[in-house]
C-alpha cells in the first residue's frame, strides 16, 4: 500500500492562499487505508481550514469536498469534469500519482498536493505503518529470507551488517531493528546461512530507470496462419 502523511496545516494554508474556491479531493483507495486522505480526512481538513478561516476573520476561501474511488485512473477522473469549472484549485489528498494525474487531465486547474507520499509499506497494527519496499525493480528477497535490505537497512547495503548495529538495532534509529541481524536470524532458522556468506556485487541502480514504464498489451499474433 502507498502510505502518506498529511502536510502540516500551515503549509496547506499557504498553498491555497491565492485561490478562492478550492476543491478538497480525497482518494478512496491507498489514502483511505493509511488514513491520510480518505473521505473522513477530507472532511476533517475541510473543518480545520474553516476553523482557521473563521478565527482569522478573513473568509477568503470557499471549499468543496469530494472523494474519488481512485485518483490514478482516467475513468475516475472523468467524474470531476463538471466540478473543475466551479473551482480555482484542487487540493488533492491523493498520493503523488493522483496529484499528477489530475494535473495532466485538467491542465487549466492548479493542483496542490495535500499529503506527502512517503513509502510503499504495510500496517503493523492499527495506526502504525512501516516501509517495506523500495520498488527497486530487482527483487532479491530470496537471498535475504524475505527481508528487504534496501528498505529495512538504512544504508541499503547488500553485504551486511555494518559495524553500527547494537543490540539488534540500527545506529541511525534505535527503535529500528537492524535488518541484517533479522536476515541473519531468519536465514539461520531456515538453514540457509550460506546465502549470507556469498558475495553480492553492487546493485544495478538502473534496473528501474526513472521514470519507468511497463507495457503489457496483448502481442498481435502473426497475420498468417500457423
Amino acid at each position: 500500500m502507498i502510505v502518506a502523511e498529511q502536510k502540516p496545516l500551515q503549509e496547506i494554508r499557504r498553498m491555497i492562499s491565492p485561490y478562492e474556491r478550492v476543491l478538497i479531493l480525497g482518494c478512496g483507495t491507498c489514502m483511505t487505508v493509511c488514513d491520510a486522505g480518505g473521505e473522513r480526512e477530507v472532511s476533517f481538513l475541510h473543518n480545520a481550514l474553516r476553523v482557521a478561516q473563521s478565527r482569522s476573520g478573513n473568509e477568503a476561501h470557499r471549499f468543496l469536498e469530494y472523494t474519488l474511488k481512485r485518483q490514478c485512473e482516467p475513468e475516475f477522473l472523468e467524474m470531476l469534469v463538471d466540478k473543475v469549472g466551479d473551482v480555482d484549485a484542487i487540493l488533492s489528498l491523493g498520493c503523488g500519482i493522483g496529484v499528477q494525474a489530475i494535473a495532466e487531465r485538467f491542465p487549466d486547474t492548479p493542483v496542490l498536493p495535500g499529503v506527502n507520499t512517503s513509502f510503499i509499506g504495510m500496517a503493523r497494527e492499527q495506526g502504525v505503518w512501516d516501509e517495506r519496499c523500495a520498488a527497486c525493480g530487482d527483487c532479491r528477497l530470496e537471498d535475504t529470507a524475505g527481508i528487504c535490505p534496501i528498505t529495512r537497512c538504512t544504508k541499503g547495503i547488500l553485504n551486511g551488517p555494518c559495524a553500527g548495529t547494537k543490540n539488534g538495532k540500527c545506529e541511525a534509529n534505535k527503535d529500528m531493528d537492524c535488518a541484517w541481524v533479522l536476515i541473519y536470524k531468519r536465514l539461520e532458522r531456515l538453514g540457509q546461512l550460506e546465502k549470507m556468506r556469498r558475495y553480492y556485487p553492487m546493485r544495478n541502480f538502473r534496473a528501474v530507470p526513472r521514470p519507468k514504464r511497463i507495457v503489457r498489451t496483448p502481442v498481435a499474433v502473426g497475420e498468417d496462419n500457423g
Binding site: R40, F44, R55, E75
Partner: protein, 710 residues
C-alpha cells in the same frame, strides 16, 4: 470521453442520499416476541437517558393499557432478551412500570371523535374487549361493551388477584375508556348475537373469555369442600371471603393454581399444598410467581395427582397417586404416568381444582366451535363463520396471556374497520428484518457485566397478611442503571456503502467487541446480531462507509450541534463554551443534570448518546462557529461500553493539533471524565470557564492592540 458518467453519477448521488435516510435497524428479539410488537428497545433507551416522559409516549403509543401490563404481563420480551446470554435479561416490565408511575400515565387523556355512524358491539370486557373498544374509538366508531358481571375487566377483575393487579389501576383504565366515549352496559348477559344486529349494531366482537373450569374427572369431585379455581378467585375478587379451613389443596400447575394457592394463604389458610402431576420444569406458571409462592409458604408436591376424594368427618380424605414422566405428548411435555401401588391418603379441609379453563359459548351465538370449546376464527382477520361476527381473546385461544388478548383486541378493531369500510384487510408488512442469532462468545465476553436489579418485593411475611400489591417500583437511579444494560440489538453499525469500503480493516481492529470480520470473499461484514452499537467504528472509518442503522442516530450529534450553535450565536453571550456530554446512565441524568444546573450563561451543553460518537470534526465545528472553549464529558468507568474515553482522547489530540497550528491554545479543548464517585463536575466546569474566560480576554486584548497599532 464518457458523457454519461456525470448523469449516472447524479442518480447515484440521489440513490445514496435516499438509502442513507432509511431505517435499516432490525426488529430486536424483544419486539418480535411481544404480541403487541412494542418498540421496547426505544423506550428502554429513553429511560436510560433519563427521558421518562418520552419513554412513556412510546409505551402508550404501542399499548392501550400499559399500566395493566406493567403489573401482570408475562413478559415474553424478557424471555427473548439477548442480555441473558451475558448475564440476566433486562427487567423490561419493571422499567415499564417505573416509566408509567414516574411519568404520570393517569393524567393522559385520549382524544377521540366519532366519524362513522356504524356501531360495534363488544361482548365481554376482558383485555381483548377493552382493547378493541379503545381502538374502535380511535378509528371513530361508536362502541358498546356488554359485560355480564357488575364490573368490567374480565379475568383482570375476576381472575388475577388484587395483590398482583391493584384494582385502582384497572379502574383508571376503564375510566379512560368511558372518557373516550365507549358505552358500557354491565350486568347485561348477551344470549343471542341476532339480537345485537337487530339493535342496529353492524359488527360484533365476541370475547367472552374462558371461565369454565375443567373437571378433574375423579370420584368425589362433587363433594362439598371441592371448588374450582376460577369460581374461587371470582368470588374472592368480587369481595367474598369463603372459609377454607386450615389445610387447603390446590390441584394444577398454571398461573391460576398459583394465584389460587396464594389467595388461599391470604385468606388465612395455614397450610396450602399444590398438587401438580408433572415436575417443576414443566410447570406452565411464571417461574417468578412460583418462587414468590414458595417464599410465602406454599408447599408444592410434584408428580402427584388426586384419584379419589371422600368426604369424611368434615374433611376431604384425598387419595393421591405418584406420577413419573413418560413420553412427551402433543404439547411437547412429557406425559405423566401413574406409578403402580404408590397411592397415599391425605386430609384437606378444602380442595380447589385449577387444572384449566375453557370458554362457554352459548349455542345461540351459532358460531363454529372447535377444540377445547374455543371459537374458530380465521387467524388473519379474526372473523368467524358468521358475517360481521369476529372473535378473539381466551374465547378463541383458550386460556392465554393478557398481552396476547390486547393484541387480539387491536387486530379485531382493525379488521372490523376494514370490514365496515368494505375493503380488503390492509395488512401492513413489517419492512424491517427480524434479528436472529445468538451472541458469539468473543463478543459476549467483552460486554461489561452489570447485574440485573430486580424490582423490590415486600417481604413474604408482610405479603400474605393482606391483598396489597407486593411489587414495589424502582427508584430513579435503579431504573436508569437497569435500562443502561440493554444491548440495543439490531440498531448497530452497518457498512452502508460497500463501494466506499477500502477494506482497510480499521473497523475490525478498533471494535472493542471483535464484531467486524472478513468473510470468505475478503469483504468486511459487521453482523447485525453481534454489533453493540457503540459507534467507535463509525467515527473511525477513514472512508465514512459505516453508519448507524437508525436514521436518528446517524444525525444526532450533528443535528444537536447545529441547533445549539444556532441558538448560541443568536444569544451572543461571550465567551461561548460548548460541552458534549453523555446522556446515558447516572452520568447523563446525575452529572449532566449537575452540569446543567451549574451552567452559567454562555455554556451550552450538547447531549450525545455516548461520547464515542463525538468525532474530531464535531469538535472543530464548535470552534469554527465561535466557541472559545469546548469540552467532552463522559461516563468513564460507568460507561456501559468499552474504552470510549480512550477514543475520545485520540480525537481531542487530533483537534488540538489543528488548534495549535492556527494559533489557538490547545487546552481550550478538554475532556472531563469523573474518576471517582462524588467528583464534583460543577467545580471542574467553574475552573474551565475561568480558564477560557482568561484566554478569551487575552485574545481580545491582543486583537485590540493589533487594531490600534495600524
Amino acid at each position: 470521453m464518457y458523457p454519461s458518467a456525470s448523469s449516472n453519477f447524479q442518480n447515484y448521488a440521489a440513490y445514496r442520499t435516499q438509502t442513507a435516510s432509511r431505517d435499516h435497524s432490525f426488529v430486536p428479539p424483544c419486539q418480535a416476541a411481544c404480541p403487541l410488537r412494542m418498540d421496547i428497545r426505544e423506550y428502554v433507551d429513553l429511560v436510560a437517558q433519563g427521558r421518562i416522559m418520552e419513554a412513556l409516549q412510546v409505551i402508550r403509543g404501542g399499548n392501550p393499557f400499559p399500566s395493566i401490563c406493567a403489573y401482570v404481563c408475562t413478559h415474553p420480551c424478557e424471555d427473548a432478551c439477548r442480555r441473558s446470554q451475558v448475564d440476566k435479561p433486562i427487567a423490561i416490565r419493571a422499567l415499564k412500570r417505573f416509566a408509567l408511575e414516574f411519568g404520570g400515565d393517569r393524567m393522559i387523556q385520549v382524544e377521540t371523535q366519532t366519524t362513522h355512524p356504524e356501531k360495534v358491539a363488544i361482548v365481554g370486557s376482558g383485555p381483548a374487549g377493552m382493547a378493541c373498544a379503545y381502538y374502535l374509538r380511535k378509528f371513530g366508531y361508536p362502541a358498546t361493551i356488554f359485560e355480564a358481571h357488575s364490573e368490567l375487566g374480565g379475568m383482570l377483575r375476576v381472575g388475577i388477584p388484587r395483590y398482583r393487579l391493584p384494582r385502582e389501576v384497572l379502574d383508571v383504565e376503564i375510566q379512560r375508556l368511558t372518557q373516550m366515549g365507549v358505552e358500557i352496559r354491565t350486568n347485561t348477559r348477551v344470549v343471542s348475537l341476532d339480537l345485537l344486529f337487530d339493535m342496529g349494531y353492524k359488527a360484533v366482537f365476541v370475547t367472552i373469555g374462558a371461565h369454565q373450569s375443567l373437571r378433574m374427572g375423579i370420584e368425589g369431585e362433587e363433594s362439598p369442600g371441592v371448588i374450582d379455581g376460577a369460581t374461587f378467585l371470582r368470588e374472592v375478587n368480587l369481595g367474598l371471603k369463603p372459609s377454607l379451613g386450615d389445610k387447603v389443596a390446590v390441584v394444577g400447575g398454571g398461573n391460576v393454581a398459583i394465584d389460587t394457592a396464594r389467595t388461599a394463604l391470604r385468606l388465612g389458610a395455614r397450610k396450602v399444598n399444590i398438587l401438580y402431576r408433572r415436575s417443576r420444569a414443566e410447570m406452565p406458571a411464571d417461574p417468578a410467581e412460583v418462587e414468590q409462592a414458595l417464599e410465602e409458604g406454599v408447599c408444592i408436591q410434584f408428580l402427584v395427582t388426586p384419584t379419589r376424594i371422600k368426604r369424611q368427618d368434615g374433611q376431604l380424605n384425598t387419595t393421591c397417586i405418584r406420577m413419573e414422566l413418560g413420553e412427551p405428548d402433543d404439547s411437547g411435555r412429557r406425559q405423566p404416568v401413574p406409578v403402580e401401588g404408590s397411592e397415599f391418603n391425605e386430609d384437606f379441609d378444602t380442595l380447589i381444582s385449577a387444572i384449566g379453563q375453557a370458554p362457554q359459548t352459548p349455542g345461540d351465538f351459532r358460531v363454529r366451535i372447535g377444540r377445547g370449546s374455543t371459537i374458530q376464527v380465521d387467524p388473519a382477520t379474526l372473523s368467524t363463520n358468521r358475517r360481521g361476527v369476529f372473535a378473539g381473546g381466551d374465547a378463541v385461544t383458550g386460556p392465554a396471556t393478557v398481552v396476547e388478548a390486547l393484541a387480539a383486541g387491536r387486530l379485531a378493531a382493525s379488521r372490523i374497520y376494514d370490514y365496515l369500510q368494505h375493503r380488503y384487510p390492509s395488512v401492513s408488512k413489517e419492512e424491517r428484518e427480524k434479528l436472529v442469532g445468538d451472541l458469539l462468545p468473543e463478543t459476549a465476553e467483552m460486554i461489561k457485566k452489570i447485574g440485573r436489579i430486580e424490582a423490590p418485593l415486600l417481604p413474604a411475611e408482610a405479603r400474605i397478611k393482606e391483598f396489597e400489591p407486593i411489587e414495589l417500583v424502582y427508584d430513579w437511579e435503579t431504573a436508569v442503571n437497569e435500562a443502561r444494560r440493554c444491548l440495543r440489538c439490531g440498531m448497530g453499525a452497518e457498512i452502508l456503502f460497500q463501494d466506499k469500503c477500502a477494506t482497510c480493516l480499521t473497523c475490525l481492529r478498533v471494535c472493542p467487541y471483535h464484531v467486524p470480520h472478513l468473510d470468505t470473499t475478503g469483504t468486511i461484514q459487521i453482523p447485525v446480531d453481534q454489533c453493540q452499537a457503540c459507534g467507535v467504528c463509525v467515527a473511525e472509518c477513514p472512508a465514512k462507509a459505516i453508519v448507524l442503522r437508525k436514521p436518528y442516530d446517524r444525525r444526532q450529534v450533528t443535528e444537536e450541534l447545529d441547533h445549539v450553535l444556532k441558538s448560541a450565536t443568536e444569544s451572543k453571550v461571550s465567551p461561548l463554551i460548548i460541552g458534549f456530554c453523555c446522556q446515558y446512565g447516572l452520568f447523563g441524568t446525575g452529572t449532566l443534570a449537575n452540569l446543567w444546573r451549574a451552567a452559567k450563561a454562555g455554556i451550552w451543553i450538547i447531549p450525545v448518546l455516548c461520547i464515542a460518537k463525538v468525532e474530531a470534526n464535531h469538535l472543530l465545528r464548535a470552534f469554527e462557529m465561535g466557541a472559545e472553549g469546548v469540552f467532552v464529558a463522559g461516563c468513564g468507568e460507568q460507561c456501559a461500553r468499552e474504552n470510549t474515553v480512550a477514543w475520545v482522547r485520540n480525537r481531542v489530540q487530533k483537534a488540538r493539533k489543528v488548534l495549535a497550528e492556527i494559533g489557538l491554545e490547545p487546552n481550550r479543548l478538554q475532556t472531563y471524565v469523573p474518576s471517582a464517585a462524588g467528583a464534583n463536575p460543577a467545580e471542574w466546569l467553574d475552573r474551565f470557564v475561568e480558564q477560557i474566560g482568561g484566554v478569551y480576554l487575552a485574545s481580545v486584548i491582543m486583537q485590540e492592540v493589533k487594531v490600534d497599532s495600524r
